[in-house]
């Protein structure tokens, strides 16, 4: 019955993992040899949900201490992630409101 909401919930979970990964990247912006990680969202079926895959970017280096965190890029990702989370929360809320509307009208 709540398939749609369950999917949204799993997407919000992925979003919150993304926030943690970004927070860790920013906190380690000055740690020598630290490599930034990123979250890739993977879709699973039956029941339909999304799960986070954390990958570490070992390929690049933007400073000479082996660290590859680009704080500006992390800030952009963070802003995107926050908007995404807010939208998902709103969608979940509206979905519940629809159920409530139908229930109240009988």
């Amino acid at each position: 019955m709540f398939n749609g909401v369950d999917l949204i919930q799993s997407a919000m979970g992925v979003s919150s993992v993304t926030a943690n990964v970004i927070a860790n990247n920013v906190a380690n912006a000055d740690t020598p040899n630290f490599k930034a990680s990123y979250v890739i969202q993977r879709v699973e079926e039956n029941p339909k949900k999304v799960v986070p895959d954390i990958v570490t970017d070992n390929s690049t280096s933007i400073s000479n201490d082996g660290n590859n965190v680009d704080v500006n890029q992390q800030m952009a990702l963070l802003a995107q992630n926050t908007i995404r989370y807010q939208t998902l929360a709103l969608l979940a809320s509206m979905s519940f409101k629809r159920y409530a509307d139908v229930l109240r009208s009988s």
């Binding site: 970004i22 860790n24 020598p32 963070l78 929360a89």
Partner: protein, 137 residues
């Protein structure tokens, strides 16, 4: 992994940057210190950061940053000619700390920016949490 984890991670980042500013201000304050308890002029200090992990069930997950040690800059001291200085050697040269104030200032701006980035993460995560609180209202 909850949203609180992200807040804790960012706060560790803020603490680390604050510590870095402490070290930088100590370097600047001692830019002209020619005597130390260990003997010789003051050596520039550098905080060394390392990624921190939290051991959870069946593994460990990243949990921010920590200061593992305070290293000393191995760069040679600057020598300036000042025969009247009590610390001058027999040729009239005084060893001055290997602190470059200009470089410390640049480091301080960098620390300040990173501190702000960490604070931004906390504030955005807070926005996310309040969005979640609005579900069902």
């Amino acid at each position: 992994m909850s949203l609180f984890t992200a807040m804790n991670i960012s706060s560790s980042g803020m603490t680390a940057q604050q510590f870095r500013v402490d070290i930088i201000s100590n370097n600047i304050a001692n830019a002209n210190t020619t005597q130390t308890p260990e003997g010789g002029p003051y050596r520039r200090e550098i905080p060394i950061f390392a990624e921190r992990f939290k051991s959870a069930m069946g593994g460990s997950s990243p949990y921010g940053v920590e200061v593992v040690k305070i290293a000393q800059d191995k760069a040679p001291f600057q020598e300036i000619y000042d025969p009247s200085n009590p610390n001058a050697n027999k040729n009239g040269y005084v060893e001055m700390p290997n602190v470059n104030v200009l470089r410390e200032m640049v480091d301080m701006i960098d620390a300040q920016r990173t501190y702000e980035a960490n604070a931004t993460v906390i504030s955005d995560v807070k926005t996310m949490a309040s969005a979640a609180l609005q579900i069902g209202k």
